[in-house]
């Protein structure tokens, strides 16, 4: 029973990280209208940015913010150089281009940092016990940072004028333009947020595990699964779905082993697409 609770807690933390990545995917899908395969590698870039930043400044917090900025900047750059020129083409062109962006980021990271795993220098904190359940203080911190990030994104989306504009564009882009909403500031904000959120996910993943050029790419499937399970384009759904997937993966580990837990995401993705393609929270309306 206690080990079940421990797996559950660990799953929630991993799930929040997946949820962040899924949120990034779903925001881009909702507003820029394609599945961004570079999300995973933006995570990795953020993690390396944070590693560099930490060793430069000696502070995890400052390093984390540098990583976050790196993620946001790279996403904006990818938008300006690649996705904006393609925006009037089919979503498939953008998806394919995003796979290219993903490979590019990974290749550059591999060349610059090599393929050895790197770790964040974190204080070793002993787990404490609560009613016999072993709790990793760092897991709590990671979950806290993830929740804070999510809260910030939802505050921006729901309580600020630019967030309102973003939701309007996601809802009905033509009506948004007719209402005087210029697409450009909305798109720049979208990419900054999507990049920053992915970076936070990558940094937390790196702190929880290790950082390698492939670590983010491996997260793409869970991230897509969360976005689809949550009802594509539905931010809250992506986060909740991420948590569900994270918990499912963790609880499945004793049975399928560590290497295959990623298959859970694939299973979830397949099941949702077959049984309930609009996800848990998606609207019944068809694709526009």
């Amino acid at each position: 029973m206690t080990s079940f609770v421990e797996l559950l807690l660990s799953g929630i933390t991993s799930g929040l990280i997946i949820g962040l990545a899924g949120l990034s995917v779903t925001l881009v899908f909702g507003i820029a209208r394609f599945s961004n395969a570079a999300t995973g590698d933006t995570m990795t870039l953020g993690a390396y940015g944070a590693l560099m930043g930490t060793s430069l400044t000696g502070s995890l917090l400052a390093g984390g913010l540098i990583g976050l900025a790196a993620g946001a900047l790279s996403a904006i750059l990818a938008y300006v150089l690649v996705f904006r020129p393609l925006q009037n083409r089919s979503p498939i062109s953008s998806l394919l281009a995003s796979i290219g962006v993903a490979f590019f980021i990974r290749a550059v990271l591999g060349v610059v940092f090599g393929h050895d795993q790197m770790v964040f220098q974190m204080d070793l904190v002993r787990p404490f016990r609560l009613h016999g359940v072993r709790i990793q203080p760092n897991d709590l911190k990671f979950a806290g940072v993830a929740i804070l990030t999510l809260a910030l994104v939802f505050v921006v989306l729901h309580l600020t004028p630019i967030g309102r504009r973003m939701r309007a564009v996601a809802d009905n882009p033509l009506l948004a333009r007719v209402s005087g909403i210029a697409p450009r500031p909305v798109m720049f904000t979208l990419w900054a947020i999507a990049g920053a959120v992915a970076a936070v996910a990558g940094i937390l993943l790196g702190m929880k595990t290790v950082v390698s050029p492939e670590s983010g790419w491996d997260m793409l499937l869970p991230a897509f699964a969360a976005a689809v399970l949550g009802g594509i384009g539905h931010p809250v759904g992506a986060v909740l779905a991420g948590v569900i997937i994270g918990v499912a993966q963790e609880l499945a580990t004793p049975f399928v082993g560590f290497t295959y837990k990623i298959a859970i995401s694939f299973l979830v993705l397949l099941l949702v697409l077959l049984v309930r393609p609009r996800g848990l929270f998606g609207k019944i309306e068809g694709v526009r």
């Binding site: 004028p161 309102r164 504009r165 939701r167 309007a168 996601a170 809802d171 009905n172 033509l174 009506l175 948004a176 333009r177 007719v178 209402s179 005087g180 909403i181 210029a182 697409p183």
Partner: protein, 234 residues
């Protein structure tokens, strides 16, 4: 004042509009009627800047806006209620109004519009997707009025409405024109629309087939037979 000169254009290769000249003066209602597929909505899209390809000229208060992008046209005073998908379903009623750009004193304007449309005011915190067809149409109208536009383009605003609500809608449109707004009114209920209009134009296959003062169109046997349907009492 809206002036449309020799408007030709369409979505792809083929021209849907094949040469349209129309004028709507301030305070005037121009009804545009015509069969399904005549190009009425396409004309509306050209005016607001949503038609992918067009030639000719569109003037707003003597200014050539033919090359002005959609959102800029909205800011310079063209309001538009599309035929379909004319509210942001996932936003609240209030947000649907708040999100409109270029409004001086938005709080006050929203309060004014809620006074004008009490039915949606009651539901202001609800999502627009939860509104009935009639309420939705009112919200779409209110959203288009946020900027106090000098010209408003209404694409079949009464299509989904009951006869009583349609009457109500026509009454509002009449009032709006009396405040000096130029109204381009696309309508299937052509007789009713012409009854509150100053002038009318009947489109056919991307052209204006017939135009003139609303009263004489209503009296015109040929127009009546071809385009307005059989006259009925009430």
């Amino acid at each position: 004042m809206l002036v449309i000169e020799n408007l030709v254009g369409g979505y792809g290769e083929t021209d849907i509009l094949t040469g349209i000249d129309l004028t709507v003066a301030p305070g005037e209602i121009l009804t545009v009627a015509g069969t399904n597929g005549a190009g009425k909505s396409t004309l509306a899209k050209a005016v607001v800047g949503l038609l992918p390809r067009m030639s000719g000229r569109i003037l707003l208060n003597e200014q050539d806006i033919t090359r002005v992008p959609v959102e800029q046209r909205a800011l310079s005073g063209i309001g538009y209620v599309p035929q379909v998908a004319n509210v942001f379903g996932s936003l609240t009623i209030t947000e649907n109004l708040e999100v409109v750009e270029g409004v001086k004193n938005p709080r006050q304007r929203i309060a004014e519009l809620f006074e004008l449309f009490p039915a949606i005011a009651e539901r202001r915190r609800g999502r627009a997707s939860s509104l009935s067809g009639g309420e939705r149409q009112q919200l779409a109208f209110a959203r288009a009025l946020m900027t106090r536009p000098g010209v408003i383009v209404l694409d079949e605003p009464t299509a989904a409405l009951s006869p009583i609500m349609a009457d109500e809608s026509f009454r509002r449109i009449g009032e709006l024109a009396r405040t000096g707004t130029a109204v381009l009114l696309i309508e299937q209920r052509a007789r009713q629309a012409l009854a509150i209009s100053h002038r009318g134009a009947i489109m056919d296959a991307g052209k204006v087939a017939l135009s003139g003062p609303a009263q004489s169109l209503l009296a015109d046997e040929r127009a009546a037979q071809l385009y307005l349907g059989v006259a009925h009492a009430g």
